[in-house]
Amino acid sequence: MTSQNTSFDESGQFAWDATSLKNWYKCPRYYQYTNLEGWSSPHLSVHLKFGQVYADALEHYYKHIANGESPEKALSLVVHQALIDTWVYPEEDYCPETNPGKPWDSLHNAKTRETLIRSIVWYFAHFEDDPMPTVTLANGKPAVELSFRLPVNDDIILCGHMDRIVEYTGGNYVMDQKTTGGAIGSYFFDGFNPDEQMSMYTYAGNIVFGLPIKGVIIDAAKINVGFTDFGRGFTHRSKGSLEEWYDQTMYTIETARHHTKENYFPMNTQSCGNYGGCSFRKICQLSPESRPNFLKGNFVQRPRWDPLKPRT
Protein backbone atom coordinates (compact mmCIF):
# COMPACT_ATOMS: atom_id res chain seq x y z
CA MET A 1 0.00 0.00 0.00
CA THR A 2 2.78 2.42 0.81
CA SER A 3 5.63 1.39 -1.45
CA GLN A 4 4.82 4.08 -4.04
CA ASN A 5 4.44 6.85 -1.48
CA THR A 6 7.17 9.43 -1.61
CA SER A 7 6.23 11.49 1.45
CA PHE A 8 7.10 8.93 4.13
CA ASP A 9 10.26 7.32 5.43
CA GLU A 10 10.78 4.74 8.18
CA SER A 11 10.12 7.42 10.82
CA GLY A 12 6.84 8.56 9.38
CA GLN A 13 5.76 11.47 7.23
CA PHE A 14 8.56 13.85 6.26
CA ALA A 15 6.79 15.84 3.54
CA TRP A 16 4.06 17.91 5.12
CA ASP A 17 1.33 19.93 3.48
CA ALA A 18 -1.36 22.02 5.18
CA THR A 19 -3.92 19.19 4.95
CA SER A 20 -1.62 16.83 6.86
CA LEU A 21 -1.00 19.42 9.56
CA LYS A 22 -4.71 20.16 9.88
CA ASN A 23 -5.51 16.46 10.19
CA TRP A 24 -2.91 16.05 12.91
CA TYR A 25 -4.16 19.10 14.85
CA LYS A 26 -7.73 17.89 14.47
CA CYS A 27 -6.98 14.57 16.12
CA PRO A 28 -3.97 12.21 16.08
CA ARG A 29 -6.34 9.25 15.63
CA TYR A 30 -7.95 10.98 12.65
CA TYR A 31 -4.47 11.51 11.22
CA GLN A 32 -3.72 7.81 11.71
CA TYR A 33 -6.89 6.71 9.91
CA THR A 34 -6.66 9.18 7.03
CA ASN A 35 -3.00 10.04 6.42
CA LEU A 36 -1.31 6.84 7.52
CA GLU A 37 -3.86 4.14 6.77
CA GLY A 38 -5.73 5.83 3.90
CA TRP A 39 -9.28 5.20 5.15
CA SER A 40 -11.96 7.42 3.71
CA SER A 41 -15.66 7.48 3.03
CA PRO A 42 -16.63 5.41 -0.04
CA HIS A 43 -18.34 8.46 -1.52
CA LEU A 44 -16.46 11.63 -2.31
CA SER A 45 -18.02 14.42 -0.27
CA VAL A 46 -20.22 16.71 -2.35
CA HIS A 47 -18.47 19.69 -0.79
CA LEU A 48 -15.06 18.33 -1.74
CA LYS A 49 -16.07 17.53 -5.30
CA PHE A 50 -17.85 20.85 -5.79
CA GLY A 51 -14.97 22.82 -4.29
CA GLN A 52 -12.36 20.93 -6.30
CA VAL A 53 -13.99 21.47 -9.69
CA TYR A 54 -14.75 25.10 -8.87
CA ALA A 55 -11.19 25.87 -7.72
CA ASP A 56 -9.68 24.01 -10.69
CA ALA A 57 -11.80 26.03 -13.10
CA LEU A 58 -10.74 29.36 -11.62
CA GLU A 59 -7.09 28.34 -11.45
CA HIS A 60 -7.02 27.04 -15.02
CA TYR A 61 -8.72 30.18 -16.28
CA TYR A 62 -5.69 32.22 -15.25
CA LYS A 63 -3.38 29.63 -16.74
CA HIS A 64 -5.17 29.97 -20.07
CA ILE A 65 -4.93 33.76 -19.81
CA ALA A 66 -1.19 33.44 -19.06
CA ASN A 67 -0.90 31.28 -22.18
CA GLY A 68 -2.37 34.06 -24.29
CA GLU A 69 -6.04 33.06 -24.53
CA SER A 70 -8.69 35.76 -24.50
CA PRO A 71 -10.88 36.00 -21.37
CA GLU A 72 -13.89 34.71 -23.33
CA LYS A 73 -12.00 31.73 -24.70
CA ALA A 74 -10.46 30.97 -21.30
CA LEU A 75 -13.90 30.97 -19.70
CA SER A 76 -15.27 28.74 -22.44
CA LEU A 77 -12.44 26.25 -21.90
CA VAL A 78 -12.86 26.02 -18.14
CA VAL A 79 -16.65 25.79 -18.31
CA HIS A 80 -16.35 22.95 -20.82
CA GLN A 81 -13.85 21.17 -18.60
CA ALA A 82 -16.05 21.62 -15.52
CA LEU A 83 -18.98 20.13 -17.43
CA ILE A 84 -16.83 17.14 -18.38
CA ASP A 85 -15.51 16.79 -14.80
CA THR A 86 -19.08 16.60 -13.52
CA TRP A 87 -20.24 14.06 -16.07
CA VAL A 88 -20.20 10.47 -14.87
CA TYR A 89 -18.79 8.41 -17.70
CA PRO A 90 -19.50 4.68 -17.69
CA GLU A 91 -16.61 2.58 -16.45
CA GLU A 92 -16.93 0.33 -19.50
CA ASP A 93 -18.26 0.49 -23.05
CA TYR A 94 -18.59 4.25 -23.33
CA CYS A 95 -20.48 5.14 -26.48
CA PRO A 96 -21.68 8.71 -27.13
CA GLU A 97 -24.94 7.45 -28.69
CA THR A 98 -25.91 4.39 -26.70
CA ASN A 99 -23.97 4.55 -23.43
CA PRO A 100 -22.90 8.15 -22.81
CA GLY A 101 -23.08 8.18 -19.01
CA LYS A 102 -25.04 10.65 -16.92
CA PRO A 103 -24.69 13.99 -15.16
CA TRP A 104 -23.20 13.99 -11.66
CA ASP A 105 -25.97 13.90 -9.10
CA SER A 106 -24.72 15.64 -5.96
CA LEU A 107 -27.81 14.72 -3.89
CA HIS A 108 -27.52 18.23 -2.45
CA ASN A 109 -30.10 20.96 -2.93
CA ALA A 110 -27.69 23.89 -3.42
CA LYS A 111 -24.41 22.38 -4.58
CA THR A 112 -25.45 20.87 -7.89
CA ARG A 113 -23.87 20.56 -11.30
CA GLU A 114 -25.81 23.54 -12.59
CA THR A 115 -25.05 25.80 -9.62
CA LEU A 116 -21.39 24.87 -9.98
CA ILE A 117 -21.24 26.00 -13.62
CA ARG A 118 -23.29 29.06 -12.69
CA SER A 119 -20.85 29.93 -9.89
CA ILE A 120 -17.87 29.76 -12.27
CA VAL A 121 -19.54 32.07 -14.80
CA TRP A 122 -20.82 34.46 -12.13
CA TYR A 123 -17.44 34.67 -10.39
CA PHE A 124 -15.83 36.32 -13.40
CA ALA A 125 -18.83 38.59 -13.88
CA HIS A 126 -18.80 39.61 -10.21
CA PHE A 127 -15.10 40.51 -10.10
CA GLU A 128 -14.97 41.87 -13.64
CA ASP A 129 -14.28 45.42 -12.43
CA ASP A 130 -11.83 44.40 -9.74
CA PRO A 131 -9.17 42.35 -11.50
CA MET A 132 -5.93 41.48 -9.79
CA PRO A 133 -2.94 41.17 -12.09
CA THR A 134 -0.91 38.00 -11.80
CA VAL A 135 2.62 38.63 -10.52
CA THR A 136 5.50 37.81 -12.86
CA LEU A 137 8.18 35.64 -11.27
CA ALA A 138 11.92 36.32 -11.50
CA ASN A 139 12.14 33.72 -14.30
CA GLY A 140 9.67 35.75 -16.34
CA LYS A 141 6.83 33.25 -15.94
CA PRO A 142 3.41 34.19 -14.58
CA ALA A 143 2.84 33.09 -10.98
CA VAL A 144 0.08 30.57 -11.64
CA GLU A 145 -0.20 26.89 -10.66
CA LEU A 146 2.67 27.01 -8.20
CA SER A 147 3.58 23.72 -6.57
CA PHE A 148 6.29 24.16 -3.97
CA ARG A 149 8.65 21.94 -1.98
CA LEU A 150 10.55 23.73 0.71
CA PRO A 151 13.27 21.75 2.50
CA VAL A 152 13.52 22.92 6.09
CA ASN A 153 15.24 21.58 9.24
CA ASP A 154 15.73 17.90 10.04
CA ASP A 155 15.11 16.74 6.43
CA ILE A 156 11.51 17.84 6.61
CA ILE A 157 9.85 19.22 3.50
CA LEU A 158 6.97 21.68 3.54
CA CYS A 159 4.93 21.35 0.38
CA GLY A 160 1.73 22.51 -1.23
CA HIS A 161 0.12 24.10 -4.22
CA MET A 162 -0.93 27.70 -4.75
CA ASP A 163 -3.31 28.77 -7.47
CA ARG A 164 -1.84 32.18 -8.14
CA ILE A 165 0.11 35.10 -6.69
CA VAL A 166 -1.43 38.47 -7.42
CA GLU A 167 -0.69 42.11 -6.95
CA TYR A 168 -3.33 44.06 -5.11
CA THR A 169 -3.22 47.61 -3.79
CA GLY A 170 0.55 47.67 -3.91
CA GLY A 171 1.20 44.33 -2.20
CA ASN A 172 1.65 40.70 -3.21
CA TYR A 173 -0.85 38.12 -2.07
CA VAL A 174 -1.50 34.44 -2.60
CA MET A 175 -4.93 33.96 -4.13
CA ASP A 176 -7.25 31.27 -2.84
CA GLN A 177 -10.85 30.26 -3.48
CA LYS A 178 -13.40 28.90 -1.05
CA THR A 179 -17.01 27.85 -1.41
CA THR A 180 -19.40 27.87 1.50
CA GLY A 181 -23.03 27.36 2.34
CA GLY A 182 -22.82 29.82 5.22
CA ALA A 183 -22.76 33.58 5.35
CA ILE A 184 -19.73 35.43 4.01
CA GLY A 185 -18.77 38.06 6.52
CA SER A 186 -16.08 39.01 8.98
CA TYR A 187 -16.76 35.83 10.99
CA PHE A 188 -16.11 33.71 7.90
CA PHE A 189 -12.83 35.42 7.05
CA ASP A 190 -11.76 35.47 10.69
CA GLY A 191 -11.68 31.68 10.48
CA PHE A 192 -8.53 31.86 8.37
CA ASN A 193 -6.33 33.29 11.11
CA PRO A 194 -4.83 31.23 12.59
CA ASP A 195 -4.96 28.72 9.75
CA GLU A 196 -2.33 26.25 8.61
CA GLN A 197 -2.96 26.64 4.90
CA MET A 198 -2.88 30.43 4.89
CA SER A 199 0.24 30.61 7.09
CA MET A 200 2.08 28.00 5.04
CA TYR A 201 1.21 29.75 1.76
CA THR A 202 2.45 33.08 3.07
CA TYR A 203 5.60 31.53 4.54
CA ALA A 204 6.43 29.52 1.42
CA GLY A 205 5.52 32.35 -0.94
CA ASN A 206 8.07 34.59 0.71
CA ILE A 207 10.88 32.04 0.65
CA VAL A 208 10.28 29.82 -2.38
CA PHE A 209 9.27 32.50 -4.83
CA GLY A 210 11.31 35.33 -3.34
CA LEU A 211 8.33 37.62 -3.20
CA PRO A 212 7.32 39.77 -0.25
CA ILE A 213 3.93 38.17 0.40
CA LYS A 214 1.63 40.03 2.78
CA GLY A 215 -0.91 37.25 3.15
CA VAL A 216 -3.72 35.52 1.29
CA ILE A 217 -6.73 36.94 -0.50
CA ILE A 218 -9.74 34.67 -0.18
CA ASP A 219 -12.49 34.94 -2.76
CA ALA A 220 -15.44 33.20 -1.19
CA ALA A 221 -18.55 32.00 -2.98
CA LYS A 222 -21.76 31.36 -1.09
CA ILE A 223 -23.76 28.81 -3.00
CA ASN A 224 -27.51 29.24 -2.76
CA VAL A 225 -30.21 27.40 -4.68
CA GLY A 226 -31.15 30.40 -6.83
CA PHE A 227 -27.97 32.45 -6.85
CA THR A 228 -24.31 32.58 -5.92
CA ASP A 229 -23.01 35.44 -3.83
CA PHE A 230 -19.36 36.45 -3.52
CA GLY A 231 -17.12 38.15 -1.01
CA ARG A 232 -13.44 38.99 -0.90
CA GLY A 233 -11.42 38.89 2.29
CA PHE A 234 -7.81 39.24 3.35
CA THR A 235 -5.77 37.39 5.90
CA HIS A 236 -2.41 38.94 6.75
CA ARG A 237 0.64 37.48 8.45
CA SER A 238 3.38 39.50 10.10
CA LYS A 239 7.01 38.38 10.09
CA GLY A 240 6.73 37.56 13.79
CA SER A 241 3.59 35.49 13.25
CA LEU A 242 5.27 33.52 10.49
CA GLU A 243 8.31 32.81 12.67
CA GLU A 244 6.03 31.62 15.44
CA TRP A 245 4.07 29.49 12.95
CA TYR A 246 7.28 27.90 11.66
CA ASP A 247 8.56 27.00 15.16
CA GLN A 248 5.22 25.54 16.13
CA THR A 249 4.95 23.60 12.87
CA MET A 250 8.39 22.03 13.31
CA TYR A 251 7.53 21.06 16.88
CA THR A 252 4.23 19.56 15.70
CA ILE A 253 5.87 17.56 12.93
CA GLU A 254 8.47 16.22 15.32
CA THR A 255 5.70 15.20 17.72
CA ALA A 256 3.70 13.51 14.96
CA ARG A 257 6.75 11.58 13.74
CA HIS A 258 7.48 10.49 17.30
CA HIS A 259 3.92 9.21 17.67
CA THR A 260 4.22 7.40 14.35
CA LYS A 261 7.38 5.65 15.49
CA GLU A 262 5.67 4.69 18.74
CA ASN A 263 2.50 3.75 16.82
CA TYR A 264 0.42 5.59 19.37
CA PHE A 265 -2.29 8.02 18.26
CA PRO A 266 -4.44 9.36 21.11
CA MET A 267 -7.93 10.65 20.37
CA ASN A 268 -8.59 14.35 20.65
CA THR A 269 -12.09 13.97 22.04
CA GLN A 270 -12.78 17.70 21.81
CA SER A 271 -12.82 17.44 18.01
CA CYS A 272 -15.39 14.65 17.66
CA GLY A 273 -18.36 16.99 17.25
CA ASN A 274 -16.77 19.64 15.05
CA TYR A 275 -18.07 20.37 11.55
CA GLY A 276 -21.07 18.13 11.86
CA GLY A 277 -19.16 15.31 13.54
CA CYS A 278 -16.03 13.36 12.68
CA SER A 279 -16.52 10.65 10.06
CA PHE A 280 -14.68 8.20 12.32
CA ARG A 281 -16.73 8.94 15.44
CA LYS A 282 -18.67 5.67 15.13
CA ILE A 283 -15.39 3.78 14.86
CA CYS A 284 -13.93 5.41 17.97
CA GLN A 285 -17.12 4.60 19.90
CA LEU A 286 -16.46 0.88 19.38
CA SER A 287 -14.30 -1.32 21.50
CA PRO A 288 -10.75 -1.34 20.06
CA GLU A 289 -10.91 -4.99 18.95
CA SER A 290 -14.04 -4.32 16.86
CA ARG A 291 -12.66 -1.33 14.96
CA PRO A 292 -10.72 -3.05 12.14
CA ASN A 293 -13.78 -4.93 10.90
CA PHE A 294 -16.01 -1.88 11.05
CA LEU A 295 -13.44 0.18 9.18
CA LYS A 296 -13.33 -2.44 6.43
CA GLY A 297 -17.11 -2.60 6.30
CA ASN A 298 -17.85 1.11 6.19
CA PHE A 299 -14.82 2.79 4.66
CA VAL A 300 -12.57 2.24 1.69
CA GLN A 301 -8.80 2.10 1.95
CA ARG A 302 -7.24 4.32 -0.65
CA PRO A 303 -3.52 4.88 -1.18
CA ARG A 304 -1.89 6.75 1.67
CA TRP A 305 -2.01 10.56 1.37
CA ASP A 306 1.05 11.67 -0.57
CA PRO A 307 1.62 15.43 -0.63
CA LEU A 308 4.64 15.09 -2.92
CA LYS A 309 2.65 13.33 -5.62
CA PRO A 310 2.62 15.66 -8.64
CA ARG A 311 -0.76 17.13 -9.53
CA THR A 312 -2.28 15.84 -12.75
Partner: protein
Protein backbone atom coordinates in the same frame (compact mmCIF):
# COMPACT_ATOMS: atom_id res chain seq x y z
CA UNK B 1 -31.74 34.53 -24.37
CA UNK B 2 -34.69 32.38 -25.39
CA UNK B 3 -34.70 28.86 -26.73
CA UNK B 4 -36.09 28.33 -30.20
CA UNK B 5 -38.01 25.13 -30.94
CA UNK B 6 -34.96 23.78 -32.78
CA UNK B 7 -32.62 24.30 -29.87
CA UNK B 8 -32.48 22.19 -26.76
CA UNK B 9 -33.08 24.11 -23.56
CA UNK B 10 -30.19 24.71 -21.21
CA UNK B 11 -31.69 22.12 -18.89
CA UNK B 12 -31.68 19.60 -21.72
CA UNK B 13 -28.09 20.47 -22.54
CA UNK B 14 -27.10 19.74 -18.97
CA UNK B 15 -28.52 16.26 -19.41
CA UNK B 16 -26.33 15.55 -22.45
CA UNK B 17 -22.80 14.20 -22.69
CA UNK B 18 -20.62 17.36 -22.75
CA UNK B 19 -17.76 15.68 -24.64
CA UNK B 20 -19.33 16.54 -27.95
CA UNK B 21 -20.24 20.15 -27.13
CA UNK B 22 -19.01 22.63 -29.70
CA UNK B 23 -17.89 26.13 -28.80
CA UNK B 24 -21.26 27.66 -29.67
CA UNK B 25 -22.99 25.36 -27.21
CA UNK B 26 -20.60 26.33 -24.43
CA UNK B 27 -21.03 30.01 -25.22
CA UNK B 28 -24.79 29.59 -25.18
CA UNK B 29 -24.61 28.08 -21.69
CA UNK B 30 -22.32 30.89 -20.52
CA UNK B 31 -24.54 33.61 -21.97
CA UNK B 32 -27.66 32.03 -20.52
CA UNK B 33 -26.06 31.99 -17.07
CA UNK B 34 -24.97 35.61 -17.47
CA UNK B 35 -28.55 36.53 -18.30
CA UNK B 36 -29.71 34.74 -15.18
CA UNK B 37 -27.28 36.82 -13.16
CA UNK B 38 -28.60 40.03 -14.70
CA UNK B 39 -32.17 39.02 -13.84
CA UNK B 40 -31.13 38.08 -10.33
CA UNK B 41 -29.23 41.34 -9.86
CA UNK B 42 -32.16 43.36 -11.20
CA UNK B 43 -34.59 41.53 -8.95
CA UNK B 44 -32.31 41.98 -6.00
CA UNK B 45 -32.02 45.69 -6.68
CA UNK B 46 -35.76 46.26 -7.03
CA UNK B 47 -36.42 44.14 -3.92
CA UNK B 48 -33.96 46.35 -2.07
CA UNK B 49 -35.69 49.50 -3.30
CA UNK B 50 -39.08 48.17 -2.32
CA UNK B 51 -37.78 47.38 1.10
CA UNK B 52 -36.46 50.90 1.48
CA UNK B 53 -39.63 52.58 0.21
CA UNK B 54 -42.15 50.45 2.08
CA UNK B 55 -43.53 52.51 4.96
CA UNK B 56 -43.45 50.93 8.36
CA UNK B 57 -46.79 49.56 9.49
CA UNK B 58 -48.27 51.84 12.15
CA UNK B 59 -48.11 50.32 15.58
CA UNK B 60 -51.51 49.53 17.04
CA UNK B 61 -52.43 50.64 20.50
CA UNK B 62 -53.48 48.02 22.99
CA UNK B 63 -57.11 49.08 22.54
CA UNK B 64 -56.86 48.79 18.76
CA UNK B 65 -55.35 45.34 19.17
CA UNK B 66 -58.37 44.33 21.24
CA UNK B 67 -60.72 45.59 18.55
CA UNK B 68 -58.78 43.69 15.94
CA UNK B 69 -58.88 40.51 18.01
CA UNK B 70 -62.67 40.76 18.25
CA UNK B 71 -62.84 40.78 14.47
CA UNK B 72 -64.57 44.15 14.46
CA UNK B 73 -64.08 46.77 11.88
CA UNK B 74 -64.02 50.32 13.08
CA UNK B 75 -65.37 51.95 9.95
CA UNK B 76 -66.09 55.51 10.90
CA UNK B 77 -67.12 54.52 14.36
CA UNK B 78 -64.43 54.92 16.98
CA UNK B 79 -64.73 51.54 18.67
CA UNK B 80 -61.36 52.01 20.24
CA UNK B 81 -62.65 54.80 22.42
CA UNK B 82 -65.70 52.73 23.35
CA UNK B 83 -63.53 49.87 24.45
CA UNK B 84 -61.22 52.02 26.48
CA UNK B 85 -64.19 53.64 28.24
CA UNK B 86 -65.63 50.22 29.17
Amino acid sequence: MTDTPDQPTIQELFERDPSAYDEDTILRIINELREKRKHWAAGNKSAGNLKKKAPAAPKLTKAQEEVKSLGLTTGKLDLTSLLTKK
